[in-house]
């Protein structure tokens, strides 16, 4: 398989399979009420598993010969280190989520739409992180956004879910409008849409107010999706109201893809890496602080996890911000490592919480949120799920020997390597926030290991192996990365170099 065909199939399989999955579900539902839309579930799993084949070829090509550049007229796609890292993470997490959802979503109305939209969302994420021209980037971004609106508001008879979906839609649309305005300004100034061409123009010119304005508009526009504080207000509602698999996807990879889009565009537009380093680090500090304090007083499990995502994005921002500021790769490597580990940890947390939500609530046709107090004694009936959730929370809190410890470590190293007062101070602040985060993670764990189960746990339904299997896979990956972080070095280092190449080439004057 040549590099180009691999890249095209990488996008075509998830996107092209979606209509087939939908139709298959609809047809079997009409033909045999007994089967329902079951084939759509397994087709979806199959499609995502199949996407690993072109991904494998694209990766081998990338490792042997470098980035894959694919241009069709003005549309250009580039499979570089960042694309590789996000594509692998999105597919691994996506496959776990889809497999989990075959049971979680089983029998829900419109199930076949869910299973068709998931591959679209994953395909558009891969497209987004490969796009290197503004138009194309914006299109992929919108495809990802639209598929996620529908998935967030999937329970359309639940007023809370609809409210969350509308808020998410309106806030993202406001962001999209800013992005579009930014694109218009860039085009007006440079006459170009290709990011590399724009960057060359920027390198050779004096700072222009139009481009400065465009960079701010894009920062804020993409920042909505990346949940930068104070643009994060859609996130707690959307993450807690979406089906649990979608919460895992949103938190694990969608917000990070927004961040990648932000970095790709700003890399082409900025004049000073130091100022942007400060900006990204500043948002990082704000995210850490607000996310943690907001999570501290939450009583709903999924809402608490949603705020924890706000603070976890803060670590990624700190790593990447330090890297942009100092133009050294360690911080970006740490930030991207945290993208991977956060996808695994938060994926596990949301899926385990989802399994409990399913067993304690949804199996009784109850759509109320899962409360922290419902977790009492969960380990008695659901030892694996309770263990999975505990492990995910400890990993998020940065305790060894789990993945989160190692990725945070790499971010912290970067701050000290940069050897500036501000980066060192920021690392200490981030470490303090890690300690603070334990104050809301640990009480949940203690509740699950009580001997006296809550009424809800006593009345809970069993958890199927289809939900348990993805949990086990994620647990193994989290422990493996915690013991031997070098396992993902092949993913993390190229991504860091790709990011630095975006930011440094803008500054060669």
């Amino acid at each position: 398989m040549t590099a180009y065909t691999a890249l095209i199939w990488l996008l075509a399989i998830p996107l092209g399979s979606a209509p087939i999955i939908y139709l298959a579900g609809r047809i079997t539902e009409k033909l045999s009420p007994k089967t329902g839309s079951a084939p759509s579930r397994w087709l979806s799993v199959l499609a995502l598993a199949g996407t690993f084949v072109p991904l494998y070829f694209a990766i081998t090509h990338f490792i042997s010969e470098g980035a894959i550049n694919l241009s069709v007229n003005l549309i250009s796609l580039k499979f570089d280190g960042i694309s590789m890292l996000v594509a692998v993470t999105a597919l691994v997490l996506g496959l776990c989520v889809t497999f989990f959802s075959t049971k979680y979503m089983q029998g829900d109305e419109g199930e076949e739409k869910f299973f068709a939209l998931l591959p679209i969302m994953i395909g558009s994420i891969i497209g987004l992180v490969c796009a290197t021209d503004l138009f194309n980037l914006w299109i992929w971004f919108e495809v990802m956004a639209i598929s996620s609106y529908i998935l967030v508001a999937f329970y359309r008879d639940q007023p809370d879910a609809i409210e969350a979906g509308v808020k998410y839609l309106v806030q993202s649309a406001a962001g999209s409008a800013l992005i579009l305005l930014g694109i218009a300004l860039v085009f007006a100034q440079t006459g170009q849409l290709n990011l590399e061409q724009i960057r060359l123009g920027v390198v050779n010119s004096e700072p222009s107010p139009l481009l400065l304005a465009a960079s701010v508009l894009m920062l804020i526009g993409f920042g909505v999706k990346a949940a930068l504080v104070p643009l994060h207000t859609w996130l707690p509602d959307a993450h807690s109201q979406a089906p649990s698999g979608i919460s895992a996807m949103l938190s694990g990879i969608v917000i990070e893809s927004g961040l990648v889009a932000l970095l790709r565009t700003s890399g082409a537009l900025i004049y000073s890496n130091v100022t942007w380093g400060y900006l990204i680090m500043g948002f990082g500090a704000l995210n850490l602080f607000v996310g943690n304090l907001m999570a501290l007083r939450q009583t709903q499990v999924k809402r608490l996890l949603a705020y924890s995502s706000v603070s976890q994005v803060g670590y990624i921002l700190v790593g990447i911000g330090v890297s942009i500021y100092s133009l050294q790769p360690t911080g970006a490597a740490g930030g991207f490592f945290h993208v991977i580990t956060h996808a695994l940890m938060k994926g596990l947390a949301f899926l385990a919480a989802g399994a409990l939500l399913y067993a304690l609530r949804m199996s009784h046709e109850n759509h109320d949120p899962l409360l922290v107090s419902d977790l009492d004694g969960a380990s008695k009936r659901y030892p694996l799920t309770a263990f999975a959730l505990s492990l995910a929370l400890l990993a998020l809190g940065g305790l060894p020997p789990l993945a989160g410890f190692m990725s945070k470590w790499q971010i912290f190293v970067a701050g000290f390597e940069a050897n500036a007062g501000i980066t060192i101070g920021l690392v200490i602040f981030a470490a303090l926030n890690s300690v603070l985060s334990l104050a809301y993670y640990t009480p949940m764990i203690n509740r699950m290991y009580r001997h006296e189960p809550s009424e809800q746990v006593k009345a809970g339904a069993a958890i199927s192996w289809k939900m348990a299997l993805p949990l086990i896979v994620l647990i193994i990956m989290i422990v493996a990365l915690g013991l031997w972080p070098a396992l993902v070095r092949w993913l993390v280092n190229p991504a860091a170099y790709s990011l630095l190449s975006i930011f440094t080439s803008a500054l060669v004057r």
Binding site: P230, P236, M294, L296, R297, L399, W409, P485
Partner: protein, 581 residues
């Protein structure tokens, strides 16, 4: 040979942890047996490792990039602490067979104990500061999980979370130290830096030195972070003996001793170490005087004895501090485990409800009193020799005011120790129906009691092992006989013995001293409130929660405000860019 042994010492308990957890709580007899087998095997490996001690790196794995080389060294400091962790660990496991009989969640208990034993051994055997921090956090995690073992009890849960958060907060100091080491030398291996501290810029070296002091103070429950240890007494008693007396709390002392040659020259560092040790030793001895909870008295005395070790390091007495650590691990584990036998039998920790237990628990009384005499520093028990060495180091190399406070503390130690022994075993008999220590408990207690009586005979070989494997520490080794003669000839010994005797006399004459007792009424009030440190903790927690609650107002749930947030962000960034260029 040494590399295999290190892997066995760390790996065996971890494999055991997985197995015990895996076989499930339905087969509890097998769980007990497996836990004993793996911990004892690990202990045996650690003892053999002592004879293979050397200063060279024996394991090195390349973890790549910013994770450096995962290196392990079996030097004197490491092997003896690993032996303490695994041997006392296996005794605590044996004790648990009786103590934890019939408890729910045995798999979780043993898995965490074994995970801890391996983690503690790793902490002292690695020479990579990243790994040391990793193991440091693993021990904190196990400590948290075991303090909160009985999750249905809110006090246990609160104690566990408090211990975790305070030690982690201090741990940031060690984190910063490790990151400074890496950013300055490009490696996490601390041995080259200890041999040559000039590798690091003096300002950063000072940062590292004080960072490590903060981490050590939090881990070893020293001033001003000590408040977590008394609350950690909610843990099952074998855990208090193992983690919160004999092993984990020593990690801080170990850290300071390990890095002493590097930090020695940092201005103000040694004085700060002396002050931390002295204040901890003194105020916790006072708190022990007024406590009625048996385990809390022991916890305060642990803080106080750890204070002696920290003080000794500040005075440059590395050998004295490590020797006292060795003695303390034995006699404090002995005291805690016999306290466990008492509590298991009586069903309360309040000493006012005990009284006159001696006749009904003769075995426990004998071993407890041996431990108590060692704690009080009575010749010829192990605590006597090591405490004398600490005080001698203080007299020769430390400031006089600190030495005097430490002397007074020695008298207070004798006083509260006898108060405790009296309240538990003598005095007015309680009505409770009690039984003596059970068989497995006796198996665990007997070797510790023996150790408290004879372990000081190892003083000479111990010193020569440290001398030969730790060149940078410049330890001057003497034989056991020479050390004994030195202690016997030193005037400091007789001053200290006189003060200890004064403490005993004060206890004996306590009825005639009630006037003084009344005059110190305010002191009891202050001590029972941990001299205000608890209030500071509570204040910080309350304020953080209040800020978090206030901040919730920002999540209005109104879409208009959400969009307003977006615009505020936009305007703020524009202003920053326009101002900053």
């Amino acid at each position: 040979m040494a590399s295999t042994l290190i892997l066995l010492v760390i790996g065996l308990p971890w494999i055991g942890a997985l197995l015990v957890w895996w076989i499930g709580d339905k087969r509890s007899a097998l769980q007990h047996a497996l836990a004993i087998a793996f911990s004892v095997a690990s202990g045996a490996a650690a003892v053999v490792l002592i004879f293979n001690a050397s200063a060279s790196t024996v394991i090195s794995l390349d973890a790549g990039g910013v994770f450096g080389q995962f290196t392990f060294v079996a030097d004197g400091l490491g092997v003896y602490l690993a032996a303490i962790a695994t041997v006392i660990g296996s005794l605590a496991v044996i004790f648990s067979v009786n103590y934890m009989h019939g408890e729910k969640g045995l798999g979780r208990y043993y898995a965490m104990v074994l995970f801890f034993i391996g983690g503690m051994a790793g902490l002292v055997l690695t020479s990579n500061l990243l790994l040391m921090f990793l193991f440091w956090e693993i021990t904190a995690l196990c400590s948290y999980a075991l303090i909160a073992f009985n999750n249905d009890d809110p006090k246990a849960v609160a104690g566990g979370i408090k211990a975790l958060i305070i030690t982690q907060l201090g741990g940031i100091g060690l984190l910063a130290g490790a990151l400074i080491l890496y950013s300055q030398t490009g490696s996490y291996d601390f041995n080259q830096m200890i041999a040559n501290p000039g590798l690091i810029n003096p300002q950063l070296l000072a940062g590292m030195a004080f960072g490590c002091l903060i981490a050590a103070a939090a881990k070893s429950a020293q001033f001003p972070f000590f408040t977590w240890l008394p609350d950690a007494m909610e843990a099952p008693t074998p855990i208090s003996a193992l983690i919160h007396a004999a092993t984990m709390v020593n990690a801080g002392v170990y850290l300071l001793a390990r890095f002493f040659p590097a930090f020695e020259a940092v201005p103000g560092w040694k004085t700060s170490v002396i002050i931390v040790g002295m204040v901890s030793a003194f105020i916790s001895a006072i708190m022990a005087l007024f406590a009625y909870d048996l385990k809390r008295v022991l916890a305060y005395s642990t803080i106080s004895q750890l204070g002696y070790m920290v003080f000794a390091i500040g005075c440059g007495g590395i050998y004295a501090s490590q020797f006292h650590l060795f003695s303390h691990s034995i006699f404090k584990a002995l005291l805690f485990l016999s306290a466990g036998a008492i509590i298991h039998s009586v069903g309360t920790r309040d000493m006012r409800e005990m009284g006159g237990l001696g006749k009904k628990m003769p075995f426990t009384r004998v071993v407890f009193i041996i431990g108590a005499l060692a704690l009080a520093g009575i010749p010829i028990l192990n605590g006597f020799w090591s405490k004398e060495l600490v005080l001698e180091a203080g007299l020769t190399n430390g400031p006089v005011w600190a030495y005097i406070i430490m002397l007074i503390t020695a008298g207070l130690t004798a006083f509260y120790t006898f108060r405790m022994v009296w309240m538990v075993f003598f005095g007015k008999p309680s009505e409770k129906h009690v039984h003596d220590a059970q068989p497995a408990m006796k198996v665990a207690l007997a070797p510790l009691a023996l150790g408290a009586v004879v372990a000081w005979l190892l003083a000479g070989p111990f010193a020569s092992m440290l001398q030969s494997t730790l060149p940078a520490h410049k330890i001057h080794a003497l034989s056991t006989i020479e050390i004994m003669m030195e202690v016997i000839k030193a005037p400091a010994t007789y001053i200290a013995l006189a003060v200890v005797a004064l403490g005993l006399v004060a206890w004996w004459q306590r009825k005639n001293l009630t006037g003084i007792g009344k005059a110190f009424h305010w002191l009891g009030y202050a001590a029972n409130n941990s001299f205000g440190f608890e209030a500071v903790n509570k204040f910080i927690v309350r304020e953080t929660q209040a800020v978090a609650e206030e901040l919730r107002d920002t999540q209005t749930g109104l879409l208009n405000w959400n969009i307003a947030g977006l615009l505020i962000g936009l305007i703020a960034v524009i202003i920053i860019l326009v101002m900053g260029g």
